[in-house]
Amino acid sequence: MSAFPGIEAGGVEPPALLRLLRAAASLKCTLALLALLLPAIVLAYNFEQWRSWPLAVPLAGLSLNLIASVATNPAFRRQSGLLVFHLSLCGLLALVAVGRLTYLRGTLELTEGATFEGQLNTVDAGPYHAGSLDRVRFINGGFRIDYDPGLFRGATRNTVRWLDEDGGWRESVVGDQYPLTTRGYRFYTSYNKGFAPTFEFTGSNGQTELGSVHLPSYPLHELRQAREWQLPGTDRTIWIMLDFDEVILDPETSSQFRMPADYRVIVREGEHRSILAPGQTATFPEGTLRLVGLRSWMGYNVFYDWTLPWLAAAGALAALSLGTHFWQKFMNKPWDS
């Protein structure tokens, strides 16, 4: 028995904070938190709305558990490989968390020959995203896609001209695993692409505007090459359909995405129906619509996460340090001893 409260006979009882730290550092605590992570992963997998706090709680707990272990366990600190591995995992978690606050994910569609000027069709961004997408400029210079028999898509080669950070224009071929990377944004080509009839609309005021209609993705919606379009600067909505007879992508043989050589565009508005070849016009009360030609459009996925290279570095460090730890641990005793 101790004569003094808080002090055990035979030794000095550690301060309450140290006791708490040691409890938080225990391997049992680690195990409990790892076990808690299992249902959290299952939840995250099944329900998109459960991908934040159910994961954050055990992961934050594991981080605290690690910090407590480092603070209280000299044996752990001495095993540098093991220590670096666990710290790398903590670093990975921190980077993922920061990445979630600052990321941007979006989509856009761009007609061949058109310039991207910072506008996305869909955007999903972290609350602290502070990139400079509005300064990104690139021009879709058209693409080539080969198809294997059975309409299996091959490599996408999309030529883009883009403005670098020094203000100079460059040309690159992007596609599949080679995104256009500029100002931290990665622009990936997608399977979403198709035909874009391009029109010139001259309003009754004499002003002319150029516009393209992105028809549904081809060949995914091969039989639905039509959509509604609002004439520029008016309230009038017309229906447009691309009509051609030739087979562009033959399921029986290898082929390549291309524009049809002979095509017509059917323009319908109420009871009025016009069939336009390139150069021909259709007249409306608000102005005249002239079919300029047919172009392609490409759908891009945009991704921004400045933590990516750091995540890769932390991951590599984790694997390397874990390997070093086990190497040091096992090299002293032969495997066949």
Binding site: A155, G175, P179, Y191, A319, K329
Partner: protein, 270 residues
């Protein structure tokens, strides 16, 4: 295709013979380890030839169809086990546990349709080889650990007590199995990292909670739990052996269940 299948059949026959001789060798106490190793090596050479012939014909590695994935995994698992069998003689009797598992996979392979599949453009990257290579080493070393765990469990249930008497005691086997599980953790970690890099390049995201990613992560977590359990409670070898069985079963289901059950194992993998 005919000739590559014939060579594959010859490889399977060599593997089966090596397995049968190994199992009977353990059961009857007549060790023919050099013959077993020689047949394994012969099977590996023949299967390498068969895989090479197919690769050359279809223009891509064995990564797409069930047939290709099973074939390449039979090859990699046999390679890892043959190396362990060769370099660590003490675990050779564990072939009696490992080879029946391999027989099941070989039987499944023989039933799978050997037709070709489409090789997506996003698979044309060195990361595919690195990622899959790491995965194969991970499953291979886990299989070796499973073989050792199987011996521990068979002893526990009184099976082959005399036949496995020449092996080290359970504690030593447990230590050896732990080494392979530790190797497994390293390669599983590398597999996840390289997979994330590939996914970022190919599909514009490094993680998307797709079935294969999620189950791979769960496998990694279970492996981490197994190793921490061992460190925390110092359980009896039998309990560790059960944990190894659980990890292997989960890894096996992730490798060969998820890709063929889920319609889109990897989101965007078209």
């Amino acid at each position: 295709m005919e000739s590559e299948l014939q060579v594959l059949w010859a490889a399977i026959v060599a593997y089966v013979l090596s397995g049968v001789i190994a199992i009977f060798g353990v059961a009857l106490g007549r060790h023919r380890e050099r013959i077993v190793l020689g047949l394994m090596a012969l099977g590996l050479v023949l299967q390498t030839l068969s895989l090479g012939m197919r690769w050359s014909r279809v223009g891509h590695g064995p990564f797409i169809t069930l047939f290709e994935i099973l074939s390449s995994n039979v090859w990699s698992l046999m390679l890892v086990f043959a190396l362990a069998y060769w370099r660590i003689p003490k675990l050779r009797p564990s072939a009696a546990v490992v080879m029946p598992i391999m027989f099941v996979m070989m039987g499944w392979l023989m039933l799978a349709h050997p037709g070709e599949g489409h090789f997506p453009p996003t698979y044309r990257t060195p990361w595919l080889f690195i990622h899959i290579g790491m995965a194969k080493v991970f499953l291979g070393v886990t299989l070796v650990a499973l073989g050792i765990a199987g011996v521990v469990l068979m002893r526990r249930f009184g099976i082959g007590l005399t036949r496995f008497a020449g092996l080290p005691d359970d504690r030593r086997l447990d230590e050896l199995a732990y080494r392979f599980m530790a190797l497994g953790l390293v390669f599983d970690t590398l597999m996840l990292i390289t997979g994330a890099i590939w996914a970022q390049d190919a599909w514009g995201r490094y993680w998307a909670w797709d079935p294969l990613e999620t189950w791979s992560f769960i496998t990694w977590l279970l492996l981490a739990i197994a190793i921490h359990l061992r460190l925390t409670f110092r359980p009896q070898p039998v309990r560790n052996a059960w944990m190894i069985v659980a990890v292997f079963v989960l890894a096996f289901l992730t490798f060969f269940g998820v890709p063929f059950v889920s319609e889109s194992p990897h989101k965007g993998a078209v």
